[in-house]
């Protein structure tokens, strides 16, 4: 059982050992280096400390096929019926009330008695796999034989907030750790100069807010970092303008000396960890702005991601940023498209989806091409999906209501068997009927690809060995 109870026996701490212990696993003692460079601290010996670091890279349960995840979260609920799951039966039943044979549901807005509405989209089969994709996504079909389209997803909640929470944490209630946190807890960090779990939101706040990337009951070290959209990506990344660079180094050097003096006559693992946290902070000051700096990317790359088009520029730059982050060892990058329920097409679905697809088509296709070209797709799992899909019955003027009973997601890269469709919904796309995949199954599969067994990844909390999939979930074997 993995728990975070540290039990390594502490040892007394000499001044030198204390300083050294702070630099364990870092490759270089960056702070020490910088301080030496600035002539503020005498040269110290090589780091060889022993204080436990919760972000140390850990050995997975089994051999992973993916090292990182990019989760493309289409927030608000994209319509599977208009994107990936064509339903000719809806043409036949158009305008009728849903026949009783499909079973009773209670929809979010009480629309279950409304007439059924066929899709207006043009559909085609693509690639060797013959996977159907509608005209809403013109660029994505270039990658169709790499996609594993799961048409039989289902979730537990009708409301956005709860469903978004569930897609991120497994639970429809707030308070459980996000998948990114579980993964960080299970695998540690591959690049300690950057946060291990990064969230890239759109212009609007994500429904349900920070609970979606919270570490829940796991230690706070594992929580996601939502990069800010403007200015430095991390809060307090650099000091106020009244503090210069050299001045900052000088202050930090004094701080280290104060802490050394304080720790000289006591052993305290925590204080070593504290010095380490200052070093990480210091290195982040350089690493994070470098990671988010897209200025060195070529125009061709930016065009590939759709950054030349005003509509898709934002998501394009976030997708490009996601690639830069996984390249630098970030484990889990969540990219929101339409944060704040952008895909929530209760009225005029076509208008909404044409816009959302214009925003997302080129950036996503570009991301897949770029990852592939750089040899990153093999080790990067890309997941596409919303918190639920949309209903076959209509709402308002040509809109659709929320549908957690059946919807589509897709995965590619990171060891996923592409060029296939998994599962089916019923004839009108209301419910998953064949090989239904619950959110927990999706989570179990993502963890599996990363080398983690969802039933063995546990953390003792309030008397219970908690798992990322709570009490359920099974790996979707067809995908592997």
């Amino acid at each position: 059982m993995r728990t975070d109870r540290s039990s390594s026996p502490p040892q007394p701490c000499s001044r030198r050992a204390f300083l050294n212990s702070a630099g364990r696993n870092l490759g270089v003692v960056a702070l020490g280096y910088l301080l030496q460079r600035d002539g503020l601290l005498p040269a110290a010996s090589r780091p060889a400390g022993r204080a436990e670091d919760p972000l140390t890279a850990k050995i997975p349960h089994h051999a992973p096929t993916a090292k990182s995840v990019i989760w493309l979260f289409m927030e608000g609920g994209p319509s599977h019926i208009d994107l990936f799951d064509p339903k000719p039966e809806l043409d036949r039943l158009a305008g009728q009330v849903m026949p009783e044979s499909f079973g009773r549901v209670t929809s979010a807005m009480g629309t279950e008695g409304n007439p059924l509405m066929p899709s207006t989209r043009k559909w085609r089969q693509y690639g060797d796999s013959g996977t159907w994709i509608s005209d809403l996504y013109p660029s994505l079909p270039h990658h169709v034989d790499e996609l594993a389209v799961i048409r039989s997803c289902w979730a537990d909640h009708l409301n956005h907030v709860n469903a978004v929470w569930q897609m991120n944490t497994g639970s429809t209630l707030a308070g459980r750790p996000a998948m990114g946190s579980w993964i960080t807890y299970g695998l540690g960090s591959a690049n300690q100069d950057l946060p291990t779990f990064v969230v890239l939101a759109d212009d609007r706040p994500v429904n349900g807010g920070a609970n979606n990337w919270s570490a829940g009951f796991l230690p706070a070290t594992y929580q996601g970092t939502a990069f800010r959209q403007q200015g430095p990506p991390i809060l307090h990344l650099s000091p106020p303008g009244t503090i210069g660079e050299k001045q900052q180094s000088s202050k930090l050097s004094f701080l280290t000396e104060l802490d050394q003096l304080y720790a000289a006559d006591k052993y305290n693992d925590e204080i070593a960890a504290r010095v380490r946290s200052y070093e990480l902070a210091f290195r982040m000051q350089t690493a994070a702005p470098e990671a988010v700096d897209l200025s060195k990317e070529s125009e061709a790359t930016k065009t590939l991601y759709g950054m030349d088009d005003e509509l898709s520029a934002k998501l394009g730059s976030n997708c490009l940023l996601a690639r830069r982050l996984v390249e630098r060892g970030v484990r889990f990058v969540e990219v929101y498209c339409g944060s704040g329920s952008g895909w929530d097409a209760h009225t005029k679905l076509d208008v909404n989806h044409e816009k959302m697809c214009a925003i997302s088509d080129r950036p996503i296709a570009g991301l897949l091409s770029d990852l592939k070209a750089r040899g990153l797709l093999d080790q990067t799992l890309v997941v596409w999906g919303g918190e639920f899909g949309r209903t076959p019955f209509t709402q308002n003027e040509m809109g659709r209501d929320h549908n957690p009973w059946g919807f589509t997601m897709w995965m590619t890269g990171g060891g996923v068997k592409g060029g296939q469709v998994v599962g089916t919904t019923d004839a009108i796309g209301l419910r998953a009927i064949d090989r239904p995949c619950h959110v927990h199954d999706i989570h179990a599969t993502v963890l599996h690809l990363l080398g983690l067994n969802h039933t063995n990844l546990t953390y003792l909390h309030n008397g219970r060995a908690e798992r990322p999939t709570i009490n359920a979930g099974a790996v979707i074997r067809d995908l592997i």
Partner: protein, 753 residues
Amino acid sequence: MTGRKSSLIKAGILLGSLLLLPRIPSASPSEDPFTSDQRGYWAFQKVIGPEVPAARQEHWIRNAIDAFVLARLEAEGISVSPPADRITLLRRATFDLIGLPPTPEEVTAFLRDDSPRAFQKLIDRLLGSPHHGERWARHWLDVARYAESGGFKLDLTRPNAWRYRDYVIRALNQDKPYDEFIREQIAGDEFRPDDPEARIATAFNRHYPDETQISILLRRQEILNDITDTVGAAFLGLTVGCAQCHDHKYDPILQADYYRLQAFFANIRSDDEIALWSDEQVREHGQKQAAWKEATGSIRDEIESILAPVRKTNFETQVKKFPKDVQTAFLKPDPERTTIERWLWHKEQWRLNPDEHRLANMLKGESRERYEELKAALEEHDDLYVPDPPAGTGIREMGTDPPPTRVLKGGVVGAELEEVPPGFPSILQPGPALIKPSPGNKSSGRRTALAHWLASRENPLTARVMVNRIWAHHFGSGIVATPSDFGMMGERPTHPELLDWLAAEFVRSGWSIKRIHRLIMESNTYQQASTYRADADSADPLNALRWRFAPRRLEAEVIRDTSLAVAGLLDREAGGPGVFPDLPQNAPVPAGGWEVSEDRSDHHRRSIYVFVRRNSQYPMLQVFDMPDTLSSCSRRTISTTAPQALALLNSKLTLAWAQAFAGRVIRLAGEDVYAQIDNAYRLAYSRGPDAKAKDLALTFFHRHREIIAERASRDEELALPQPMPEGVSPIDGATLVDLCHMLMTSSEFIYLN
């Protein structure tokens, strides 16, 4: 945990899920659902005050605590640590009891007092301080998952939730007996329906996270689950929540027990309109308001005539959004509604019958214009207006006929099994609880029965759990290291007899929390130095046997409050609505809002008064592990992270604290750098710098001064002391700011020894 043990546990879970189908004691009364091991488990045995053991080094024993601790240490061959030095002791006690550092004057006074009772006097002073409640209430608020908003998407403000926070502060300052504290929080409305204090206390069960959704029956169940889990954890130290879907996998808690406990709360609803004034005050208020009412009568009538149709339309539209059965319930006359239907009706009032502000937003065109005119006309009479009487928030019942509580198969709403009456965990007391509705009361009396049982001296858990919580906050870890889990998966007590002795003493003293504080702090165990000792450490690396006082990081609130105090900024005003300090620059405005307090002194109030927005906690507190308030928290995480470093190092907030700190130092010490360093150390660490520290600080000052001088020569802006006294060189001033800043960021500042 070892791999072997973990796989055994996994096997247990698997087997359990296959074999342990729901066992309901009523189904087969002859068969004991519990094993003899479960029946014999230590935490379920009655507390019998054990005898105080003998130890060889009798001179070390100041009270019974020392005897228990020493006996164990001697048995293991570990020696005790020498007493901490007096400054350390003073800081330890002061942070511990009031959450603030001692002032330099308090340091001097304590060092001068060479009477043998000096430390006892200090404890008395601190326990008598109004700041004591502010410090210890925070611990209880963690357990009560206290927040001032509902969470979920809207994170709506609960305008009077703070009254509960102040209630807890008052209760602890008054040393309210713990049994009374329990009774008020569980059933204050039943015990003393006319006492606002007792009714505000019931907000303990009002702090559940909540949201607005159409599936309200599910919501009701989630609220009841939250209350059941929280009560079980807080008062009993049991993870009853694990029995929501099935019998507890480890502890002798049946699934039926979960719902028996829940049944005590089946009849409650929130009450956000608790009257706080006496009848006479209300009458007086009515008289004062009469003039305004008369002057505005016709205006208000016309406003009502504009709003009435919108109210009607809104009602009709909203009702249609609910499932058919709920619609029927809403359209019935009130007396015909069942209790649950009354709950639904009350819960959805915000949607069905919104307040004037929300109704007015629905107005359009001419009626909107007319409404605005009328509001303006109304404002002209503001000089006569008297605000409505204040209200409290808590819970109440919906009558004397509670709805049935049924066991839910797998915890799923809609999968109802058999009905269960209110009852306690059957391992402790099988059979239904005896419920006696108090005559004339509009309440079922169920919670009175629960309160009496929880607050009973016979209850084996209540006193143990509470003394352990107190111990845990003094020492950084409990005698039972899992304060809200006394079950099989929790830790075993390191000193079971000591725990029982304290529990017995707690009850004997009339449940006096302050009595336990005194006992603990007067012990030699508490007063040991925190110095590391390799010999003892190798024998007991976790310090389970208490061979020293374990150093630890201060909590989020204490770090912020101490910084404000040292900077001379702290506003010591007590009580009242939550305050809203500035958020960091460019921080998103949280859902539910964050209207920054206009009064700057409010930005410097103690952290316990900072508004607790469930979804967006105040960043400086959140970064240092303030709990998430989504469920009861008995033991905070203590993390050490880069964002903490960034917040202390780079935020404008901490720099502003350092600027004020430097300003204060200059005020006290003048321009002499030696005197400045001396004063800064005394304020930050309660001690003057020794030779080494002085040397370090001076070296830094001179080195750093050159860097600042360079900046100044380039005309770059400097962070100066606040206020900046005349005649002080800006270069010296800015150098001192940075020195002060690093003292406030240093480990000595944020660790307790």
